[in-house]
């Protein structure tokens, strides 16, 4: 019983860190530039498809994933320089609305293209075997996910606390005018963070594919999960988003084990609604 509970907790943690990474993808871009990036899930799916295609010609999944994430970053860079720049030209509420509709349109566009050229589901194999600690059986994918996510979190933490660019980003999140006065160019930071968020979500997508099938249709679902996590954590709080992802992952896994998977999803959305009603300033 206890062993089962612990196994569930570890599965939940693995799911949670993935949700955290997805949530960060929303938080970074919205917190910084007020664009609710609805095409986020597309980055994850593209990363998974690219990894599975490269996998044959490179030594291992880690290399394939790195190349795939780099490709996704390039893709995000091109998008940022072209379409997203047009959205950043607007100000205030106009930018928020334009951001929602433009990224929604782009997500439909790319989802459709993915369906046409890369239909079908994809799995990725972690290559890490299961480990049994006494009565505990921990799946290899959970270990791989938690370990990789720990490395990513450490990198993100280092970036935002110790690099000039990272601290600059946090300055822009807090006060855009103040940042300009300190000599930071917000538009440049916005570009870099948009690309960074795509890379994080690309990596999260690869981790997600270790345990679940990824199809072009997953992109929309992953985007919605990311938004809900980001809201529960507070859209301008990086640590809040990470914590929210882990907690929601554990809650969803336990709710799923107890009541079935559909109620797990309902739990996620209901939590987001409750948080927004209680604290609407979470996202504004």
């Amino acid at each position: 019983m206890l062993a089962q509970g612990l196994e569930l907790l570890i599965d939940g943690l693995a799911r949670g860190v993935i949700l955290s990474l997805f949530g960060l993808g929303i938080t970074l871009v919205f917190g910084l530039g007020e664009i609710l990036n609805l095409l986020l899930g597309v980055f994850a799916v593209v990363a998974v498809i690219a990894s599975s295609m490269i996998l044959g010609s490179v030594p291992g999944l880690v290399f394939a994933a790195l190349i795939a994430v780099a490709l996704v970053a390039l893709f995000a860079f091109v998008l940022d320089r072209t379409v997203i720049s047009l959205v950043y030209r607007e100000e205030g509420e106009d930018r928020i609305l334009l951001g929602i509709f433009v990224t929604l349109g782009l997500s439909l566009l790319f989802e459709g293209l993915l369906f046409i050229y890369y239909p079908g589901g994809r799995f990725l194999e972690s290559g890490v075997g299961s480990v049994s600690l006494g009565p505990l059986g921990i799946t290899g994918s959970s270990i791989a996910v938690i370990a990789t996510a720990a490395v990513l979190f450490a990198g993100i933490y280092y970036f935002f606390n110790n690099t000039y660019l990272g601290i600059g980003t946090r300055t822009v999140i807090q006060d855009e005018t103040g940042a300009v006065l300190c000599g930071i160019n917000p538009r440049k930071v916005q570009s870099i963070v948009f690309v960074l968020s795509a890379a994080i979500v690309g990596a999260a997508g690869v981790l997600y594919a270790l345990d679940a099938e990824v199809t072009p249709a997953s992109s929309f679902e992953l985007t919605t999960f990311a938004i809900m996590v980001s809201i529960v954590g507070g859209v301008d709080s990086i640590s809040g988003t990470v914590a929210a992802g882990i907690i929601l992952g554990i809650i969803m896994t336990i709710a799923g084990a107890l009541f079935g998977s559909y109620l797990a999803t309902v739990t996620l959305f209901a939590t987001a609604i409750a948080v927004l009603i209680y604290k609407p300033e979470q996202i504004s």
Binding site: I96, L113, I116, F220, T224, Y262
Partner: protein, 339 residues
């Protein structure tokens, strides 16, 4: 004097008269009893035009962006059909029950949103989360809703009118929807010309200033929310009838909300005929693209992106503006020559 004012009223109302006259002659011209396909598409145009008019009231007039139109339509349809089944009566009698439940739900969400001072994006996300929950619940409660297999639905025919007038069932469906469209159309015209229209404009421009001048912002937002979702809930069973089966997929975010948004923006926000024009174009495109599978999604995604970046005013208002500009230019030489 009287004749003149009558004449000018007729001239002002000419577009309205022409549009409704055109709508009335569509069934005899295009509805072929042997193939129901075309008739179904015309009915779909009317349904989506009415959906877009409902969104026009809540989003266009009061700036409340709702992204659960599919969910509201599902609430309306399932309530109407399931209560009719439970009470063993015709769904005609329970249409208002479904619409009322949908309206109360929508009004309640708008009340909480207005009370808690949600910004546009908060309301958009909350309603979107409700959309997802409604979908999951409908699929999950398969004992009641039939889950993904759905409920066959062929009611809402009026045999006695058919036998009385000799008009086919699809034509009657169409006329019923034209009547609903007319009611919503005149309601919208009246609303925007009344003190409500003025109050809506005030809320849109500056909510705090509106509140300071004594406008009950919460009441008006709830009012707009109730009316819009009531209309969607009322029309939704007719939407379900076009496919003959009620399945959750009919009410998905991509299937309803995305289309209605494209229709409204294409036709023009706060334009009276925009929803009808937008619906006709979008459903025609949808029809054209349906044989190309996912290229349909690609096209609509592209359309949504381009529309929002470059044509936020909608095609109908832009066209009218262009027309009026040209009219003035043509008159200019005449004015200069001293006429």
């Amino acid at each position: 004097m009287n004749g003149n004012s009558l004449q000018s009223t007729v001239r002002d109302q000419l577009p309205v008269i022409l549009v409704f006259a055109a709508l009335l002659v569509i069934p005899p011209l295009f509805f072929d009893p042997s193939t129901t396909y075309l008739s179904r598409r015309f009915i779909t145009v009317m349904v989506f035009a009415i959906f877009a008019m409902a969104l026009n009231i809540i989003f266009g007039e009061t700036d409340q962006l709702i992204l659960f139109m599919g969910g509201i339509a599902a609430v309306g349809t399932y309530t109407t059909v399931l209560t009719a089944e439970y009470l063993a009566v015709s769904p005609w009698l329970t249409l208002l029950v479904g619409a009322f439940i949908a309206g109360v739900f929508g009004g309640l969400v708008c009340y909480v949103a207005a009370r808690r001072q949600f910004t546009v994006i908060v309301l958009a996300i909350v309603t979107f989360a409700f959309q997802m929950i409604i979908m999951e619940v409908i699929i999950g409660l398969r004992d009641i809703t039939g889950g993904s297999t759905g409920i066959p639905f062929r009611a809402l025919d009026v045999e006695f009118v058919e036998s009385l007038t000799g008009v086919g069932p699809f034509a009657i469906q169409f006329y019923v929807l034209v009547a609903v469209f007319a009611v919503v159309f005149f309601l919208y015209t009246w609303l925007t010309n009344s003190k409500y229209g003025l109050a809506f404009a005030a809320i849109r421009q500056d909510e705090f200033a509106a509140r300071a001048t004594g406008i009950d912002v919460i009441r008006l937002k709830v009012f707009a929310g109730f009316i819009s979702t009531f209309i969607i809930g009322f029309v939704a069973p007719f939407y379900a009838k076009t496919t003959g089966i009620i399945i959750p997929g009919l009410f998905s975010f991509q299937g309803v909300d995305v289309l209605v948004l494209i229709i409204l923006v294409l036709g023009g926000l706060r334009s009276r005929f925009g929803p009808l024009v937008g619906a006709a174009i979008v459903i025609y495109l949808d029809n054209l693209l349906s044989q190309f599978g996912q290229w349909r999604t690609v096209t609509f995604g592209l359309l949504l992106t381009i529309l929002f970046i470059y044509f936020q005013d909608g095609i109908l208002p832009s066209a009218t503006e262009l027309w009026e500009e040209r009219g003035i230019r043509e008159k200019l030489p005449g004015l200069r020559s001293g006429e």
